[in-house]
């Protein structure tokens, strides 16, 4: 019998592939064959580990040694030193950004240590193109249990009891949604998986689909059984070609195994699954627009009620959940609702995957239990702010979410506390910003996104976000007017109250939350013509810091007389006079003049 003494897992996620993991894998396979090790060392391409910033990633078992930023040139050394001689290659290990310590083992890295990986448990550890690896990891056990030991009502009840809430944004209780679709009269029903992940910076759904597609498929089949649907659609954005490819393979394998198709597990239950590729519209993540798009129409939301549970795809009762929601189902069924509900807070159960990006040391995907604090995610998992800069805010929830300031860092993360704070769970994007980020500019960024992605159907979203964007643009250009803040607030309230769909209704959130926590930055732009973060080029003023000794050099060099101050006292710059020429900054012997206010 063949004895494999080592497994080399090479990440085949989109992130690692784009940094060269395919070349690493090919080189590795060649080198191993050349050395005649191919009978004892097996190379496995896996899905995403979530630590894409450090890619290409490689794990070598049985030791569980974790190599980062592996290049094709490193391959001979890996084979020679690690696989042949059994020595760890120090320089390829991950270094903690704060302690600078190299850490050989995957589980010891802070980025992973504080995570609780349920949905991502297989990602990076199994070959997503191989159904047997999923089954070996416990896959399709839940389906077997549901179909052979449970009634559809019991499955629905279990999901209800688990307290699982929709991971796509609004956090509607999943079990309730299933129950509505279940109770909706009709012979023909559909299950739809929303894989149109579109929030800027969010890629958790892509990673799940690429790294563990069967987990989503299994969740969908169980849902079909629970609500009485025999057909399902996965609506994947076309920008995710690898996810689509792996889903197709997975569906074909599941069909071959009999998990999809007629009479699954001899239960008499039939389920067929199709993939529908999106056409690149953000709004198609909104469930009614998504259904329109599957039907071949332009993706524009339609009014609810009727809800999809009553009249969905082609007018039939339809249950729509997002990728991450479906990925939770198998563990709920296998381990039971009580076990699942042990994780999380009273009203937000289970784990949530966040996409950490921005000015943070460890960017990547982090699956954490609900109820963790923002501080733990940013400082423990995320490794703190890049270059030791000062944390300013975290934007959570994508274009529908909001920005939370430093004094909210100890906020526990769950649906309700985030909403109360003026943000939103959303799909789980976390963008960390430091002191150099301008909050008006951040609001402008998100409004630019929502405006260009508005479907154009309803007036408040189409026209209102445009006017908000114009106001934000003039504020960041230094042309803000008295009354602009009030106008923004009035528009924001109006849009929230009158827009047709969830996207429009939440589009003003980035503005409202920055106005709530960073109003002084807006005021500084408008009244003082200064961007406190020094980010808005028209408003990049100069400031004299406490390091000023009052030598008066700056005052002398200033061509417009914008600097005031007595000798030996701290000088100040009159921003309204300053022409931002920068002459003072170069002249100051104490480096006491810096850009920004």
């Amino acid at each position: 019998m063949q004895f494999i003494r080592a497994h080399v897992l090479v990440c085949g996620g989109t992130g690692c592939m784009s940094s060269g993991s395919r070349q690493v894998q090919a080189g590795l396979e060649d080198e191993i064959a050349r050395r005649g090790l191919d009978n004892e060392v097996k190379v496995v391409q896996t899905g995403c580990h979530g630590f894409c910033e450090m890619g290409p990633l490689m794990i070598i078992y049985p030791e569980g040694v974790f190599y980062v930023s592996v290049k094709a040139e490193d391959v001979p050394e890996i084979v020679e030193t690690h696989l042949y001689k059994g020595r760890i290659i120090e320089r390829l290990l991950y270094r903690e950004p704060l302690s600078q310590k190299s850490i050989p083992s995957y589980d010891e890295i802070n980025f992973y240590k504080k995570q609780r990986r349920i949905i991502l448990s297989n990602c990076g550890h199994i070959n997503p193109d191989e159904i047997n690896e999923y089954i070996a990891a416990g896959g399709y056990e839940a389906l077997g249990k549901a179909l052979t030991l449970m009634t559809p009502a019991a499955v629905t009840e279990e999901v209800k009891k688990s307290g699982l809430r929709g991971r796509g944004g609004a956090g509607f209780p999943t079990g309730m949604k299933w129950q509505f679709a279940r109770q909706s009269p009709g012979e023909k029903k559909y299950v739809v998986c929303n894989a149109d992940e579109g929030d800027p910076g969010a890629f958790m759904d892509r990673s799940v689909l690429e790294g563990d597609p069967h987990r989503v498929i299994e969740g969908m089949i169980i849902c079909g059984y629970a609500i009485g649907a025999d057909e399902g659609y996965i609506y994947v954005r076309a920008e995710y070609p690898l996810a689509i490819k792996r889903l197709r393979t997975a569906i074909a394998q599941a069909e071959e195994m009999g998990f999809l198709g007629k009479d699954v597990f001899g239960s008499g239950f039939n389920f067929a699954l199709h993939i529908k590729e999106g056409a690149g519209a953000f709004v198609c993540g909104e469930e009614t627009a998504l259904l329109q798009s599957i039907e071949g129409r332009r993706g524009m939301p339609r009014p609810r009620p009727p809800f999809p549970a009553v009249s969905g795809l082609w007018g039939k009762p339809t249950n729509i959940n997002n990728v991450e929601t479906f990925a939770n189902i198998a563990s709920i069924i296998v381990d039971g609702a009580e076990k699942y509900a042990e994780i999380g807070t009273e009203k937000s159960k289970g784990t949530k995957v966040f996409a950490l990006t921005g000015k943070i040391n460890n960017t990547g995907l982090a699956e954490v239990p609900m109820g963790i604090t923002m501080r733990e995610i940013i400082y423990d998992i995320g490794g703190g702010i890049v270059d030791g800069k000062k944390f300013k805010a975290v934007q959570i929830g994508g274009p529908s979410g909001g920005c939370l300031p430093e004094d909210m860092l100890d906020l526990t993360i769950d649906y309700d506390s985030l909403t109360a704070a003026g943000a939103m769970m959303g799909s789980g994007g976390l963008v960390v910003m430091d002191e150099t980020t301008c909050m008006v500019d951040v609001a402008k960024f998100f409004l630019t996104f929502t405006q260009s992605e508005s479907c154009g159907k309803c007036t408040p979203c189409r026209e209102g976000t445009k006017r908000m964007l114009e106001i934000l643009t003039r504020i960041t250009n230094g042309e803000g007017r008295e009354g602009d803040i009030a106008l923004l607030e009035d528009l924001a309230r109006g849009i929230k109250q009158t827009a047709l769909c969830g996207l429009g209704q939440t589009a003003p959130n980035p503005v409202l939350s920055t106005l709530k926590y960073f109003r002084h930055e807006y005021e500084a732009h408008i009244k003082d013509h200064v961007c406190p973060a020094g980010a808005c080029s028209n408003l990049t003023g100069y400031t004299i810091t406490d390091d000023c000794r009052g030598c008066g050099m700056c005052k002398k060099v200033c061509p417009v007389g914008a600097i005031a101050g007595e000798i030996k006292e701290r000088h100040v710059i009159k921003h309204k006079v300053c022409i931002k020429c920068g002459a003072c900054e170069g002249k100051c012997p104490f480096k006491a003049i810096r850009k920004g206010a």
Partner: protein, 577 residues
């Protein structure tokens, strides 16, 4: 207690409405006027414009009342600070992206956006940012689209797809750049547009209007070398009054004739005359096809929107269309030949104008086939809406003006000609004549009630000389498409089919005054049949002027001269994608 009814409280007043009703329906029933823009009573509600928002107790946001279903015990408030403020904000946003040229706009005082803004008491537009820029689409003879005036209510999209089945329009692009247009930003002349003009009737603003040909008419009238004559279509006289502040359906034949004379037309004629002529030719053609194994079912061809549809979508079925020209074009051909000869006027100096309920008639007049007189048979086509505006421009007090009679001979028409204006009218007129021509007996009851009414598809069977003649009457292009699919599949067991492009026929044609709804349509229709009922002559073949025309000049129906002047041919149109 009826189980299908639910109780709703609107502004403190209890009303009972059907469970399928919208909050808007309930509010209207309770006497609360809720402003609307994208809503149209005859189209599927969209909830897009958000002008009709109201407060529903328990709802997180305001709701669009036009799409929100009622439920038992629902408490609705239509007049709160929040509601008024929200509605004003929505309309303010629309106006911030709309040209501020109301005073010189063709829809001034007849614009729904203007009306809603006025009613909401909007006094200020706080936004001075970008306005959308779009080129004018005016490369066709019938319609002008000005997307800068479009408020994206989507009524045109819905009427064109839901009712007309033509699907010319859709929303394209996103965000602020969203626009309604044919695929690939094509102009209507490049798209598969039939020019039926229903979009221009439902458009709440001046984003889609008829191509305005009034100036050309004034120019002709003021040219002393020109002999300017006008024909007025049967349905214009029952709708024109609405443009002058009269009640819907008012019969204004005499006032219209008087007004046209005051405007300066040299002769005021009646399309009812040539409608009778059409019956002579088309009726004879039908009898000929019936007797000689010609192509059946024969389909009428007087609705140019329908003819365009046939040429674009059913080029394989064009042999089914009657070769008889429409009344407008028969009139044009006879005016520049027979009338010119009789009155001793050089046809090159005749300017033949027609007042039509229809935008597609403008395109019909410039078809290359329509020059049998040696000139363009009909020079200028104006719609009822343009005529209404011209009457105002001319300073004519329409309410006061004394009624006058049409000029002879081409102003003489029968009741059969008059009912061409309503769906089923052509069929009824044809049956009256065909019956008497085939049997030689006098028809006792002239009213064919089976083919009357506003239903999309009507069927009847008439025994004529021992033959059970099966007929069908359809209106709207959507119904026409269904019928033609049946004809194509050889599943249409009829001898004769009347097709009108517009709902209810010409009475709510694409050139008729807006707004139109079911009630207004019924009033116009009732007036059409009233005109017929009161006519001394109610059969086309008994029209004395038509009889004289054949006796003196044309010879026989389907004869050589008739063939040359009064019949046409069709060819496939390759437009659209």
């Amino acid at each position: 207690m009826d189980n299908d009814m639910v109780n709703v409280t609107i502004d403190g007043r209890k009303v009972s409405v059907h469970k399928s009703a919208s909050v808007l329906n309930a509010a209207n029933k309770a006497g609360a006027k809720v402003p609307t823009l994208c809503y149209h009573p005859e189209l599927r509600p969209e909830g897009a414009c958000r002008v009709c928002v109201v407060e529903v107790e328990g709802s997180r946001t305001l709701v669009a009342s036009c799409v929100y279903p009622v439920s038992e015990g629902m408490i609705v408030r239509t007049n709160t600070d929040a509601v008024r403020h929200a509605r004003r904000s929505v309309v303010e946003l629309m106006l911030a992206n709309h040209p501020p040229d109301c005073l010189v706009c063709v829809r001034n005082k007849n614009c729904e956006l203007q009306k809603v803004a006025a009613e909401l008491g909007l006094r200020e537009i706080r936004f001075d940012g970008e306005k959308k820029k779009h080129p004018l689409d005016a490369n066709n003879p019938s319609l002008v689209r000005d997307n800068e005036k479009c408020i994206l209510c989507g009524r045109c999209v819905r009427v064109c797809s839901e009712r007309q089945g033509v699907h010319v329009y859709s929303f394209t692009r996103r965000g602020f750049g969203t626009v309604v247009s044919p695929a690939f930003d094509a102009g209507l002349d490049e798209a598969a547009c039939t020019y039926c003009g229903q979009c221009s009737v439902v458009c709440p603003t001046a984003a889609i209007t008829e191509k305005d040909d009034a100036e050309a008419v004034w120019k002709a009238i003021s040219d002393p070398t020109k002999h300017v004559i006008i024909q007025t279509a049967p349905s214009v006289r029952v709708a024109l009054g609405e443009t002058q502040g009269l009640a819907p359906g008012a019969i204004v034949t005499g006032k219209m004739v008087a007004a046209l004379r005051r405007m300066g037309f040299d002769k005021v004629f009646d399309t009812n005359f040539s409608a009778d002529l059409t019956i002579m030719e088309e009726g004879s053609e039908f009898i000929h096809r019936l007797k000689n194994g010609g192509k059946l079912p024969m389909v009428t061809s007087c609705s140019p929107g329908w003819v365009n549809l046939a040429e674009m979508f059913y080029p394989d079925l064009l042999e089914h269309l009657s070769t008889a020209k429409s009344p407008q074009q028969m009139f044009g051909a006879v005016a520049k030949t027979y009338y010119a000869e009789k009155s001793g006027i050089d046809p090159k100096n005749i300017v033949s104008v027609s007042a039509m309920p229809c935008t597609a008639k403008k395109a019909e007049a410039v078809r290359p086939q329509m020059r049998s007189s040696g000139y363009q048979d009909v020079d200028i086509v104006i719609t009822t809406r343009e005529l209404g505006r011209m009457i105002k421009e001319a300073g004519i007090d329409f309410a006061q003006i004394e009624e006058e009679e049409f000029d002879a001979p081409m102003g003489i028409g029968s009741g059969a000609g008059a009912i061409f204006g309503a769906t089923g009218g052509v069929m009824e007129a044809a049956l009256r004549t065909a019956y008497e021509l085939l049997t030689g007996e006098e028809l006792k009851n002239l009213d064919f009630n089976d083919v009357r009414g506003l239903k999309g598809l009507k069927e009847a069977s008439v025994n004529i000389a021992g033959v059970e003649v099966k007929v069908a009457v359809v209106n709207t292009l959507g119904e026409a498409r269904q019928m033609m699919e049946r004809v194509r599949a050889k599943e249409a067991p009829y001898h004769f089919i009347e097709i009108m492009a517009c709902p209810g026929g010409c009475i709510s044609g694409g050139g008729q005054p807006a707004p139109v709804d079911g009630e207004i349509r019924m009033k116009r229709q009732a007036s059409i049949y009233e005109i017929d009922r009161c006519s001394a002559v109610r059969k086309s073949h008994e029209n004395p002027a038509v009889k004289t025309l054949y006796a003196e000049w044309l010879g026989q129906p389907l004869g050589e001269k008739a063939h040359k002047l009064l019949h046409t041919h069709y060819h496939a149109q390759h437009r659209g994608i």
